[in-house]
């Protein structure tokens, strides 16, 4: 079975210190598919990507990549796994001391022995794919937020990885670049057979391109299905998320231990 599931979470739990983030979560991402993970802010989506890339280890359960438990990999195996993976960080994480060209060229230079002229051409092609050809000599500080994330995307796809992890690829993009990037993600997935996981808040745009969706809340999957199933879903979670309603099963506010009145020092709190 594991051969057609490229990524599998088996009863995974994770906590930062005392705070549980993921509770016994299980899900599977089929090989070659584009899957979205959606959920409120702080629901543990980035944490799931970090588990897949092996930056953190689950406190219980297994994260399998191509049938192998990431937590069991030694240093060399982990780096081998990462070499075939691309990750778009939520905040870009461009190298601030390197130009745009050197940023995109970074993984190519580190992992291949291609001649400089060929690397240059590859970089230009990747930058053209994200609509930023002509920016190669700028420094990251000279880019806008949305441009920086597109450069980061170009860097993540530089080596045509088998597995792509996108953390919020659409944030900070204008509608036109959003459409272009969504199309690019879809194209990469179709043309190269890349397995792709996309963490996103943008329900409507992603339903147009993904093959499958998981909704996470409080560290567990609360709804899942193909875009057609999601659109027709009676689940209150899905409904609340799709239409951006404040009231519903998902709580907008972080679970605070004191009341708002207490924090503001108003009547009704303990300290008046």
């Amino acid at each position: 079975m594991s051969s057609d599931h490229f990524i599998e979470f088996r009863n995974v739990s994770f906590a930062y210190g005392e705070r549980p983030i993921l509770n016994n979560i299980s899900l599977a991402i089929p090989r070659g598919k584009l899957v979205a993970i959606m959920g409120g802010s702080g629901s543990g989506k980035t944490t799931m990507l970090r588990l897949i890339s092996g930056q953190i280890r689950p406190s219980a359960g297994q994260v399998l990549v191509d049938g192998r438990n990431v937590a069991d990999m030694n240093h060399a195996e982990l780096f081998e796994h990462r070499r075939r993976m691309g990750m778009l960080f939520q905040f870009g994480a461009l190298f601030t001391d390197l130009s745009v060209e050197d940023n995109v060229a970074f993984p190519i230079r580190e992992h291949t022995r291609l001649p400089d002229s060929m690397i240059h051409d590859l970089v230009i092609m990747k930058l053209a794919a994200v609509g930023l050809r002509g920016t190669q000599n700028l420094m990251p500080a000279e880019l806008s937020g949305g441009m920086a994330r597109r450069v980061a995307l170009a860097r993540a796809i530089a080596l045509d990885p088998q597995l792509m992890l996108y953390d919020e690829p659409f944030t900070g993009l204008d509608p036109i670049s959003l459409g272009v990037i969504a199309h690019l993600i879809k194209k990469l997935n179709d043309a190269l057979g890349t397995t792709s996981i996309m963490v996103t808040h943008d329900v409507h745009k992603s339903l147009d391109i993904v093959d499958y969706v998981y909704f996470v809340s409080n560290g567990a999957v609360v709804a899942a299905g193909t875009p057609a199933e999601i659109r027709a879903s009676p689940s209150p979670w899905v409904h609340q998320f799709m239409w951006g309603e404040a009231d519903g099963p998902v709580h907008f506010a972080y679970p605070a231990s004191t009341s708002l009145q207490q924090d503001l020092g108003l009547k009704g709190g303990q300290h008046d």
């Binding site: 930056q55 990462r82 070499r83 905040f91 993984p107 580190e110």
Partner: protein, 261 residues
């Protein structure tokens, strides 16, 4: 009551254990740097780039400070020596003070506040903005790619900077002693030549600055790598680099001097 007596004791114990733990940690960090140094030495242009940022950018401050220290040595040395009627020995005094102590120590102090603090801040910021994470997710070891080149750049730059400091200091002493006060130039240089031993003074001074280079750069890259990944964490780490480096330089200098001279 007992709580009042015990709590400073407990804090002392805590601090001590913490310090020893950090010492162990920094040792393991050094071993990791050495282990992953192959790449930064093979792709030497990575290290060259850091030598430029750490070493070359420190040249101005080292050269100017060296000149002033040498001139002060010239003035003070002349005052004291002439009281004993041995102003002729000024050349030897200036050269020996610089080669044995002032050159290595002051150049290292300057280097740590000019380049060491910058290294800490840079690595700390790379950590805070997830650049180090991004690198290791791209299957590139940040110790090999970011830390090791900076470490070697510091180790290589330090003795060269100390040597520049010495040369400028001696020139400063010459300016004061010969050009300004009017001592005999031949005596100034020949006294220096007769009293400075290549092995004993010059090589020992170089060994000192090499040790300082290792200590200062190790502290700088470690504090950056270990920084709490926030703005406040990086600024605290930068301060720690300068303070710890200064203490370590002076302590190591004492130990080395006791063994060497």
């Amino acid at each position: 009551m007992t709580e009042l007596l015990l709590s400073p004791l407990r804090r002392l114990g805590h601090t001590t254990i913490n310090a020893i733990w950090r010492l162990g940690f920094i040792t393991r960090f050094l071993l990791a740097i050495l282990r992953y140094s192959g790449q930064s030495l093979l792709r030497f242009n990575l290290t060259i780039r850091e030598i430029y940022f750490a070493g070359v950018m420190s040249v101005i401050i080292v050269v100017v400070s060296g000149l002033f220290v040498g001139m002060v040595l010239g003035l003070q040395g002349y005052n004291t020596l002439s009281r004993f009627g041995s102003a002729d020995a000024l050349g030897a005094l200036v050269a020996l003070s610089l080669l044995r102590e002032l050159g290595p120590v002051l150049a290292a102090l300057l280097f740590s506040s000019r380049a060491g603090s910058a290294m800490t801040a840079e690595i700390g910021l790379m950590k805070a903005t997830e650049q180090l994470d991004a690198m290791s997710v791209m299957a590139v070891n940040p110790i090999a790619r970011v830390v090791a080149p900076r470490f070697w750049a510091g180790v290589i730059s330090m003795p060269i900077l100390a040597a520049m400091f010495n040369v400028m200091g001696i020139f400063g002493g010459y300016l004061i002693g010969v050009v300004m006060i009017g001592l005999d130039s031949g005596t100034f240089w020949s006294q220096m030549q007769n009293n400075v031993d290549l092995h004993y003074d010059v090589v020992n001074g170089l060994i000192k600055s090499l040790c300082f280079g290792i200590a200062v750069t190790l502290i700088a890259v470690f504090e950056g790598y270990d920084a709490t990944p926030t703005a406040a964490g990086v600024s605290a780490a930068t301060t720690r680099t300068v303070v710890t480096s200064a203490l370590v330089i002076l302590a190591v200098d004492f130990v080395l001097t006791a063994f060497m001279f």
